[in-house]
Amino acid sequence: MKDVLQAESPALAVTEDARHSRGAIGRLVAVREAGIFGALVALCIALSLASPYFFTLRNVFNVLQGMSTIGIMAIGMTIVLIAGGLDLSVGSVLAVGAVLTARLMTYVGVNAWLAAVAGLGAGLAFGLVNGLLVTRARIIPFIATLGTLSVGRGLAFLLATGPAGVASNVPMRDAGVGFLGAGYVGPVPMPVILMLTLDVIAALFLANTVLGRQIYAVGSNARAARLCGISVERVLIFTYVVAGGLSALAGIVSTGLLSTASTNLGQGIELDVIAAAVIGGTSLSGGEGSVIGSLFGAAIMAVVRNAFVLLGMPLHLQTMIIGLVILLAVGLDLRRR
């Protein structure tokens, strides 16, 4: 062996590059997110110039709090997308988690925290069903989760049906669980703390664990992943369970914020969540993406929506602008590659 190798070209061919000499945090914010972060900063500077109210502590926390539901859900959605899947049912899971928690608390009288755990469990179970439909029943993710989107919404209506027989908002007035949505730690709203914490945990998980890397592998090349001994089915199911759990959690948080679980909670939100991930650089064809990027994506959308009100934008701009942001972000991302 040695003879052949030595006959070949000289010394070791690998050269160092600067990227991997960084620490764990440095790796998290790799080049990929720098572009979208730059766009966010530019947008914020522009808005600060346009409105004196934008860059106030209060407004910044307002925006962060406003994006927390989408932000928390975008973590799960990003993980599903990285593995090459898609979850359209997140909005319905959000409502099921919220309404079930509120119902158990208010109508059934279960201990508030137990009720929240049950709501979370319902989200995880929903994710499991999605995962099984996609892997065992081999229904493509778009169709499988389109189905559970409707089933979930129906379930939310059923759970919210009050004594008068009409679907209603279910009140939830527990200070403890409500703190998750409405509480503050110092000046920082609790949902913001939750969102940022979960995002960092997810980013560390994806970057540093075996399972995290297997998620990327499955999305990048599922056939190769299988031949590498990865249980593709189990990885996919895991991602849907995570997305379901985070959606339910987001539901409980937003219920806490308003003290009420509405049946229309999160209706149509799946598209915003997907948009956040896509703006953040996650590929719909799998294998690429980061939860930090998705958070920036959600932030961009939240800042734009904030600007609707701050700048008093006319309605046609309000409806058009989010779409333009998506096209711009994805277009720039394609150019960059």
Binding site: G66, T161, P163, L258, Q267, N306, F308
Partner: protein, 349 residues
Amino acid sequence: MLRTRHQLVVTVTATLAVSAACRDAPASHAGRPPNAPAFASAGTVPDEGKVLPVAQRPGKPLRIAVLGLESSPFWIPVKAGVQRAARELAGRGVTVDWIVPGELHTTEVFGRAIDAAVAKQYDAIATIAGDAGVAAYIDRAVRAGIPVATYNSETDTPNERLFFVGAESYTQGKAAGALMCRLVGPAGKVGIITGFFAVEAHQARVKGFEDALHADCPRSVVVGRVENQDKAEIAYQEAKDFMTAHADLGGMIAIAGSPFGAAHAVEEVGKAGKVHLVTFDAVDETMDYVEKGVIDATIGQDPDAQGHDPAVRLYNYLVAGQLPPYGRLLTRADVITKVNAAQFRAPRS
């Protein structure tokens, strides 16, 4: 193969022709009666919500279908009104069925439901008719001899319905606008949270609101118009944004569903009584904030009467040919405040 297909087509065509003829020929009530009130004539009647069934009894048992929704708490008092009518008519051998054909008020859902009610041979139908497309289905039912009343919301497209029971969005908006002017003063700043930019009724309320506001307070300013898609969490965020952007904001109006999100924001920021909030309808969540004084006023539309009156008036027409004085029976635009809140609380069961 080809032949069988031709035969099939012929058979189907024939069947359709026969059934159409059957439906057209013998119906005694076919078409809108000549003495029916003009489609667009409008007014408020004194017996709103209290109209009684006439003394006559029908020659045979009658069945009346009321088509509505259950997807939001607004419908709780409507349904209660229908059930009240059902109880009043039960003694006269009349069945009133409350039917929920779907989750949305679209033509697709309600058109199909009207067709189904005709097929089930109901003697009269009351339906919501917010979309223009529903008009064609109403006309088809009426031509088949089944009188139709509309309630809650109806399209401007003229059709053969007998009468409508409900609020007029523009008028409601005007009431809110006049009220807002009094709350915020002559040069107040006001933010508008509508339901959907694309929904006609919501935009009519906005227009009525702005017309009245500017007429009464010419120096007032509308600082922005946004939609909350009937969602509490969006209303919450938008209300916060309005208050951030305009420290001197005088008031906000929440036009459509889930206005309590905005109320929650006002309460949280501690501006109750400083930022005046006007909303519509009297669902429980809204009423909580009215009682707390966070929502200054909410504009009611007598949902109980909207559920109750159509069934009873249809009965009166069927057995006695009795017709109401207007095409549009406009329900009261009650101004509900902390003071009178108790009498507008939806009945708790």
